[in-house]
């Protein structure tokens, strides 16, 4: 049953060194504040899962927190590469990381299987694809009716998933709307789930019955963090800070500049700083 907690406590209670963790968001609703809190608390040896690792995983990898990354697209969306992640893969800096790479279809199916309590997902995929030859977690099953050979991947079952959402009600139910991505599956597939929200409202009585609502008993902890997905966006609250994504490319290109930026904007900053970062993006939402 969801507990309302300050973010620092929600992260401290639910993330551990060595955990398999997902900070999910598909361009929209990226849980930046939760990731920054995890960075401040300096967790180690994490296996980080995400379809689209972007700035926050670049930051966590650059800070030496990741042992392994499971992913399907490692880019700065709309801009280019993830330079800290590249540095770790190409040069072992700050230390080598293991990777398990999939396609989006495979990761989406694997989360879906995790949410559905299955050990694996099957789908028509990876035909002729190079990943099938370098990733031993891409296997096959044969349809017992048609004989068709389908790809199989293991279900994703994070120890903990972090997502950002529009709002919770007082009971602790959570609403995700707009580009809903893989958030519901990431929460339901995980042993524990931490959600940051823009606000808490009395009830959800005025919501349409078919929206993506996570009942309170599927969520472990909720932290209220206005602006908590910046520089990503929260539909209905504030727009994407595209300029910050462009700016990140230069910051992450240089090891020293990266450390300086992290020191100033993450280590010496706090959860309360997010509201200010989106102040001028609210009109555009």
């Amino acid at each position: 049953m969801a507990k309302f907690l300050p973010l620092a406590q929600a992260v401290a209670e639910n993330l551990n060194d060595g955990d398999i963790a997902a900070f999910e968001g598909f361009t929209h609703l990226i849980p930046t504040a939760a990731a920054h809190e995890a960075i401040r608390q300096n967790f180690r040896d994490l296996t980080l899962i995400r379809m689209t690792p972007d700035l926050v995983y670049d930051q966590m990898i650059g800070m030496g927190m990741a042992k392994k990354v499971i992913f399907s697209y490692a880019g700065n969306p709309g801009v280019g590469l993830l330079r800290r992640m590249r540095d770790a893969i190409e040069n072992g800096f700050p230390h080598p990381i293991a990777i398990e790479e999939h396609s989006h279809a495979a990761m989406a199916n694997a989360y879906e299987a995790g949410a559905a309590g299955l050990p694996c997902a099957i789908f028509r995929g990876y035909r002729g694809a190079g990943l099938a030859e370098v990733n031993p977690n891409i296997r096959h099953v044969t349809c017992p009716f048609t004989g068709e050979v389908l790809a199989a991947v293991p279900a994703l079952r994070p120890d903990v998933s972090f997502i950002h959402a529009q709002k919770a009600n007082k009971r602790g139910d959570v609403l995700v709307e707009g580009i809903i991505g893989i958030q519901k599956e990431a929460v339901l597939a995980a042993k524990r789930a931490v959600v940051t929200v823009e606000e808490v409202v009395d009830d959800f009585d005025d919501l349409h019955p078919n929206l993506t609502v996570l009942p309170a008993w599927t969520v472990t902890a909720i932290a209220v963090v206005p602006g908590g997905s910046h520089p990503s966006y929260t539909q209905g609250y504030y727009a994407r800070d595209n300029a910050a994504y462009l700016e990140w490319d230069a910051i992450a290109a240089d090891r020293d500049r990266f450390r300086e930026w992290m020191q100033k904007n993450v280590i010496e900053a706090g959860v309360e700083d997010f509201a200010g970062r989106v102040a001028n993006l609210r009109k555009a939402a």
Binding site: H28, Y73, N109, E112, R124, A129, G130, T212, D241
Partner: protein, 260 residues
């Protein structure tokens, strides 16, 4: 008619290949521009789908990412990412998968994963994202990219997504029953696969482009069709539509970064 850049010609030529009743799975970058120019000119009812889950979207500006808010706001419906890949892509509902490429070979195989060895890469690229299954589940695949010897190579380092493999009936031999890459549009030319060998062959040169320019910017010996056409230059409407779109896009994506 105004002067136009090779990139503009590329985008407009690509837009012309799309039909009003196409259901198009749109990659970001050049494919996104081409698809939206098509929608704003001759194909107003084209269905544009982005892998973030937005179906039938009609953005006023080009998205910077595949998940910009406007894609959702203007869509017929927005579904979850698992549903997108299961019901819509794997379900066989996509007529055109439209991809960009970092590296391509003459059979339309694409590499956006690594330069060098996969396990010890010289350059680690972002990876495939949706491409491996877009390439096999879409009824056809269109590819668009600017030509360069680094981009158009004899042998790609990694098969991120499968085109025609080693050519001929390689797709069918792998149990892939879709057509694969049927069109390559570059900044210099329009290419189609040979019906038998499946090697990309130049069928049309953009206005003013020579065969030598095409060969000089391509890493394999280029085949030309018996009849090579000249791509009709952009019309005023096409060019104005593209430029207006780009101008709106630039204006929208500018703005102050407030730390990331």
């Amino acid at each position: 008619m105004s002067a136009f850049t090779p990139n503009e010609m590329m985008t407009i030529a690509a837009s012309r290949a799309l039909k009003n009743d196409d259901v198009c799975f749109v990659g970001i970058g050049a494919p996104s521009a081409a698809c939206n120019v098509a929608r704003l000119t001759h194909a107003p009812d084209i269905t544009l789908i982005y892998e973030s889950g937005t179906i039938g979207t009609a953005p006023d500006v080009l998205p910077l990412s595949i998940g910009d808010g406007e894609l959702c706001e203007t869509a017929t419906t927005t579904v979850s990412v698992p549903e997108m890949f299961r019901y819509w892509l794997q379900g066989g509902r996509i007529s055109i998968g439209f991809l960009g490429a970092a590296q391509i070979d003459k059979f339309g195989n694409i590499n956006t994963t690594v330069i060098g060895d996969y396990h010890h890469p010289k350059t680690r690229l972002p990876g495939g994202g949706g491409a491996p299954e877009i390439a096999t589940s879409s009824q056809q695949v269109y590819i668009t990219m600017a030509q360069s010897r680094r981009g158009m190579v004899e042998t790609i380092a990694f098969y991120t997504s499968f085109g025609h493999g080693e050519g001929g009936d390689h797709r069918q031999r792998l149990g892939i029953d879709t057509q694969g890459p049927t069109l390559l549009i570059t900044d210099l030319a329009i290419w189609k696969p040979d019906p038998v060998t499946k090697e990309f062959t130049v069928v049309s040169l953009h206005p003013g482009v020579t065969r030598e320019q095409v060969q000089d910017t391509c890493g394999w010996p280029v085949k030309f069709a018996d009849d090579v056409a000249v791509t009709p230059p952009p019309t005023e409407l096409e060019l104005r539509t593209l430029r207006d779109l780009k101008a709106r896009t630039d204006a929208a994506h500018k703005g102050q970064a407030t730390t990331a």
